[in-house]
């Protein structure tokens, strides 16, 4: 085992870690914003909207994330030369970077998987509670905000923690489109030092720490939410 490369590459790992955290938090945040309506419309209807949502979940969950990522980055990228003036437009600085595409791909993935989970979550809230809320005179949105959504989320909290850990572990795919996250930095170390095991072990250790943090945060959140007796 040779670890002498660690100090040299540590700054790179710090910036890689920052990229990984940004990827994870942005895609989880936007993904959940999408997942809630996607789950909800499948329970409440209208039916056609529910069908679209279900179709979206099926497609996203049925295709490899790597392919989605590449379709977005290289696939859309191949269309750019056909759009006249796109390189002069204000959008180009964003379209030119790989990072927004990675966030978009992971957001869609989170929306697809968590949309399905949220569907089950909304469904599992006992009807009686919703009826009681309505009997109190709550409007539809108040009911959703104060009763339905919190109860639904509460039910799937442990599941979501697991899902976000899985999302974390998908983020290394971003390295395939030139986003140098923790894993990407690890590959640089491997290629430049010809050491195989040490960088991989180092990267694995970082992911275990991140996973541990996610699990701890969710445990803490779970304890804060009062459980029905």
């Amino acid at each position: 085992m040779v670890w002498s490369w660690v100090p040299e590459y540590l700054p790179k790992f710090v910036s890689g870690l920052w990229i990984t955290l940004q990827l994870l938090s942005l895609s989880v945040f936007f993904g959940m914003l999408l997942a809630i309506p996607i789950g909800l419309v499948q329970v409440t209807g209208p039916r056609w909207l529910g069908a679209i949502a279900r179709g979206f979940c099926t497609v996203v969950r049925g295709t490899p994330l790597l392919i989605q990522l590449w379709l977005l980055y290289y696939g859309l990228g191949a269309l750019f030369p056909m759009v006249p003036g796109i390189r002069e437009s204000f959008l180009w600085p964003v379209l030119r970077e790989a990072f927004p595409f990675a966030v978009l791909a992971f957001t869609i993935s989170v929306a697809g998987y968590e949309g399905e989970i949220m569907r089950g979550a909304f469904k599992s809230v006992p009807k009686g509670e919703l009826e009681a809320a309505r009997a109190f005179g709550m409007g539809r949105f108040t009911l959703l905000r104060r009763i339905w959504l919190p109860r639904a989320l509460q039910n799937v909290f442990p599941t979501l923690a697991g899902e976000f850990v899985l999302t974390l572990k998908s983020t290394p795919l971003a390295a395939t489109i030139t986003v140098f996250d923790v894993y990407g930095v690890g590959s640089i170390v491997r290629q430049e030092t010809y050491r195989i095991y040490e960088p991989l072990l180092f990267v694995a250790a970082i992911y275990i720490c991140l996973t541990g943090i996610i699990v701890l945060v969710f445990n803490w959140l779970e304890r804060r939410v009062p459980r029905p007796a």
Binding site: Y74, G77, A78, F80, P81, I86, R87, R96, E97, A98, T176, T178, S187, I188, Q191, E192
Partner: protein
């Protein structure tokens, strides 16, 4: 000489491993025959050294060497090898050898020279000698035809350069361009940086000029061209030379003289023009 004999015998025995239908006695007969044959061949090889045997990779490596449908070795390197032999006044045969066994084959005197696109490296110099280089596909910088980049560090100011990770090209880009360019983006795969060049996410890519040929000939590569060949021997190494046994110093000299001769009399250029539209010698 005894060595070759024994090697032939051993390879003969090994090949008999497959012939399980043979009885024990038949097997013995085969071995005895093999020994006899080995002795004859061994003597033949030592007494007549008329032919120079050039070892080439048995796997196809177009356009340098490949086996044609009629079973002959063809390609640029085959023709160059023939031209070198003519310049040396030798008759040659081409011997296809598996790449990973080509240096052992040279050391075991199964071939006399490797003319198989073998790059001159310090690591190989520990085991064998090399003639001077006879080609060196230069690195090249490729950008849009409309761009006025010319390969100098000044011309890439503010540009994004794409390279394949852990290649000499990456080293070159980092050494010569990184301080001036906007950034040097690394890709896992040669084709990926070409795709991003087409998409406009990188302004130029640095890679092997030969490898670019296919891309530039494709539809996607139409609007792009090689802006400059890049040379830096410290980074890219001296190029490809003929691999020769260390003790055959005379043969090294002969190869060097032959390379110089075909370079000077135009043979080299005439052969190369058939295969490449750029200078493969790489001055």
């Amino acid at each position: 000489m005894a060595g070759t004999g024994w090697q032939r015998l051993i390879s003969r025995i090994n090949s008999n491993d497959n012939e399980v239908i043979l009885g024990e006695r038949d097997n013995m007969k085969h071995i005895i025959k093999s020994v006899a044959l080995a002795a004859v061949f061994g003597m033949g090889a030592s007494s007549v050294m008329a032919e120079l045997r050039l070892g080439m990779d048995s796997a196809p490596y177009p356009p340098f060497s490949e086996t044609s449908s009629s079973g002959d070795m063809i390609g640029w390197e085959v023709e160059i090898g023939a031209a070198l032999c003519e310049a040396m006044g030798e008759t040659c045969t081409v011997v296809p050898v598996a790449w990973d066994g080509i240096i052992p084959a040279l050391l075991a005197k199964k071939i006399d020279a490797i003319v198989g696109s073998m790059s001159i490296t310090e690591e190989r110099m520990k085991t064998i000698s090399f003639s001077n280089k006879y080609y060196n596909t230069p690195a090249a910088i490729v950008a849009a035809k409309s761009s006025d980049m010319d390969g100098t560090p000044e011309s890439v100011k503010g540009k994004v350069i794409g390279v394949q990770v852990s290649t000499t090209h990456q080293n070159y880009a980092q050494e010569h361009y990184e301080s001036m360019a906007d950034s040097v983006k690394t890709y896992q795969d040669f084709n990926e940086h070409n795709q991003d060049l087409v998409a406009g996410r990188v302004d130029a890519v640095v890679g092997d000029s030969l490898a670019f040929a296919d891309f530039l000939a494709s539809d996607a590569g139409q609007d792009f061209e090689i802006k400059a060949s890049l040379n830096d021997e410290k980074i890219f190494g001296p190029g490809v030379g003929a691999g020769i046994r260390k003790e055959d110093t005379e043969l090294v000299e002969k190869f060097n003289a032959a390379i110089q001769k075909i370079r000077e009399d135009g043979t080299y250029e005439a052969i190369s023009a058939k295969y490449f539209d750029f200078d493969i010698y790489g001055d």
